[in-house]
Amino acid sequence: MSRRLALAAVLILAAAFPAAALDLVTFSPQVIRTGEKIEVRIPNACSNSPAPVVTRSGFEVTIRLTRPQPCTPETRVLELGPFRPGEYSVGVFDGNAPWAFGAFRVLGEGEQPFEVRPFGLAATGGVELHIRLQDLAFSLCPQLKCAIRIGGVEAMTKRQGSHPNEIVVMAPPTAPGLHDVSIANGGSTVTLPGAVFTFGPGAPDFTHVERILFPLNFDAPGAHGSLWRTESAIANPQPWPIVTVNAIAPFVCPAVVGPCTELLQPHSKLAWNGGTYPHGVALLVTRRDAEDLAFSLRVRDVSRVAEGFGTEVPVVRERDMDVGTMTLLDVPLDPRYRVKLRIYAFGAAHGDTGFVRYGGRHVNYTVTRHCDSYESCAATPAYAELDLPAGEPGTREIVSVVPPGNSLAWSFASVTNNDTQQVTLVTPDGTGGFR
């Protein structure tokens, strides 16, 4: 049994059998950080006891405290520490007879007493927040007897989560922005600053929100009888829900007021075919929650489904985008293929220009962008596409794409065989060249 489990078992037993012979030692502050001193409260000590003897060995603290007769009971308070990070057990002995015990945990640098998932949710609330306590030893919310506040607003509904150290609360409505989460128990309050971020109908705050680009999301006929369709999926494999700032799947948005969010339930997957974004769209998710999702995107000529499953198109994270030159290696400008270069730029305005260099050519391009709300503008990249003309058979070129201004950009070339409609993508990797 791990030390942590042993501590939990001791505490659960103590809670279950309050009439047991041993007294329970309590500690203050409720959350102890390394380097801090702590107060140890020993109940039923005697006011006429001699000074206690405290010894430490590893994670074990032994307090020897004589109880003379007659005894005038009092709670003896000792100051101990500071301690290094870890989980400690405390035993209080009268001679060799144990009569009180307790356990506490000391948080290390960077550790928090609890964590909250998901990070992002709509300001309207109504989403279950999973609060995972770092350790039961803190007794932050025994038997759900505590007040949990999000941005100062108390969550009125709470329940035990699937783990003993997890509490699930229904997020109350809050103002949009970054909020603390606090757990108040008796006279003690423990606060996790900036634990959740709520979004409203205004422009997303890209400090906290990431743009995850789905470069294609459409269902459209192509050349030579082809019928192109994208197959997209977003999965939330986590045991907590995740709320996206916008919705990109082609379903009717149920929201009447505020942004059209997507609630991805725990262990769920959203998959759809086709879409209405031939020029790409960004899924807006808080940066912290984005790390917990999985994505996939394929494009397929469904007029020839028997021939293959199509071509994977990357779902592009911001870390894969660039403000500088993007380099596409070995793009075949061969008469057997149609080559289309697509350029996506977040932060560029409609009409901005960039340029492309390949094979000694310098080609300017102009991006377009059509959107009609804060939300759709945040999710819509400025876009341009160029058909690269074929050269001699066997020609391959290095294509350098310079985005407009300082926009955060990504691009790729699709290479389509004129006969078989097989598609090969060439995506950028690395930078270099025309800086």
Binding site: F59, A294, E312, T420, T424, G430
Partner: protein
């Protein structure tokens, strides 16, 4: 008895040095450093002290609470504060004996803005020829090559040439460790301290913190099923005006584009490139059935950088087609040598989740080791059958991808992990 307990406490790290991890693998002066050690017995309170280049991680010995069976459990301790640029060695000790149970070496790189940077900022003494280095500054430090001189730890570089604002020169004889670089033009000079790190023979362990592994998942030229002939086409480009190096030495000249058709690396090849140079090198890779070269240009396969790998988390491959008529193969890679088993969970749209364990095998060359395993997913006759595949391999940087190959047309669809996860 105490000695036995101590032996138990540190038996794993004593035999496996890689069980002491420095996180992140390439720390800078702006990143906190965590030390992770794997122990079967719960240690006592830990303390970390930094004395010069030695970091001492010390556990107060408790000697009990051992796992049975002795499965190592990770314990992570943060080094207080931020470390200055330098080379460091970690030593782990435990009470009461001062036995060193595990060590690790790494280099903290300077992340602060400096007057210029050197490309590459890390070189090896073992390279067969003296490296040609570049000085890259925001402004030209020299107007003409004739009046421009460069010194490394006081020794003059040779063959100084200007390429725009970039100064190229051949390094003088170098000593292991950090070196200061000084650029003089006439009576003006600029010095950057610790601008260059020279990897000596006894500092090879620190290589991971200085060289970024770049994985080519496949480099091959091999016959496949149904008359197919698979060939990869790799391309590496250096579009900068300086030379690019790898662990072995010179890799690319300025502006050079190198192509490789085929290869003998069906389990992947890892190039190790100085970390400051890696972002400036462009890569491309395609696999193609050259027996049907008229059908298409092949399928792009990602060249995997360290940031694309998954550490301490499973990754998920969504919507993998598993219809009959297709061959579906999963390839799993780890960026270090390991013989751990990856847990591969296949979750079909309907039916139970099946988990299979596949052991990785190290693949080594002169520059280091990575690891590889492959697994053929079973197909089903149901039309439209899809499955989500989750790969779990703890404590190592992991990546994987799936190829879905049509038995008739040999068209290949690649499925790569887009985000991490767990079982959907």
């Amino acid at each position: 008895m105490r000695k036995v307990l101590l032996l138990l406490l540190f038996s794993l790290p004593a035999v496996a040095q890689d069980r002491l991890l420095v996180l992140p693998v390439a720390p800078t002066t702006r990143t906190p450093v965590d030390l992770r050690i794997y122990l079967a017995c719960a240690p006592g309170p830990a303390s970390v002290t930094v004395a010069g280049s030695v970091i001492k991680l010390h556990f107060e010995h408790t000697g009990h609470l051992c796992a049975d069976p002795p499965i190592p459990y990770p314990y992570t301790v943060r080094v207080p504060g931020l470390l200055p640029a330098g080379e460091y060695r970690v030593e782990v000790t435990a009470d009461p004996e001062d036995a060193i149970a595990a060590t690790a070496a790494f280099v903290v790189r300077d992340a602060e803005e400096r007057a210029f940077r050197v490309e590459p900022a890390v070189v090896r003494l073992d390279w067969p020829t003296p490296p040609v280095l570049a000085i890259d500054a925001l402004q030209s430090l020299c107007v003409t090559a004739a009046n421009c001189r460069v010194f490394v730890d006081g020794l003059p570089g040779t063959g100084v040439a200007l390429h725009g604002r970039v100064i190229l020169f051949t390094a003088p004889p170098l000593d292991a460790g950090f070196a200061d670089v000084r650029v003089e033009h006439g009576s003006t000079f600029v010095t950057v301290q610790k601008a260059l790190y020279v990897v000596g023979g006894d500092a090879q362990d620190a290589g991971m913190s200085l060289f970024e592994p770049v994985l080519f998942p496949l480099l091959l030229d091999a016959p496949g099923a149904n008359g197919s002939l698979w060939r990869t086409e790799a391309v590496v480009a250096n579009l900068e005006s300086w030379l690019v190096y790898s662990w072995e030495g010179r890799l690319l000249n300025p502006g050079e584009v190198a192509r490789l058709a085929g290869g003998d690396y069906p389990r992947g090849l890892v190039l190790r490139i100085p970390r400051d140079q890696a972002p400036h090198v462009a890569f491309g890779l395609r696999a193609r059935d050259v027996s049907r070269v008229e059908d298409g240009y092949g399928t792009e396969i990602p060249v995997v950088r360290e940031r694309d790998t998954f550490f301490d988390t499973p990754f998920t491959l969504l919507d993998v087609p598993v219809e009959s008529g297709y061959r579906v193969k999963l390839r799993v890679y780890a960026l270090t040598a390991t013989t751990q088993s990856a847990a591969i969970s296949v979750a079909p749209r309907s039916g139970p989740i099946v988990t299979t364990y596949v052991r990785l095998a190290p693949v080594c060359d002169d520059s280091g080791c990575h690891s590889y395993a492959e697994f053929d997913l079973p197909s089903t006759a149901a039309e439209g059958a899809r499955a989500d595949v989750t790969v779990t391999l703890p404590d190592v940087a992991t990546w994987g991808f799936i190829t879905v190959t049509n038995n008739e047309t040999q068209q290949v669809t690649v499925v790569t992990p887009g985000g991490k996860g767990g079982r959907p």
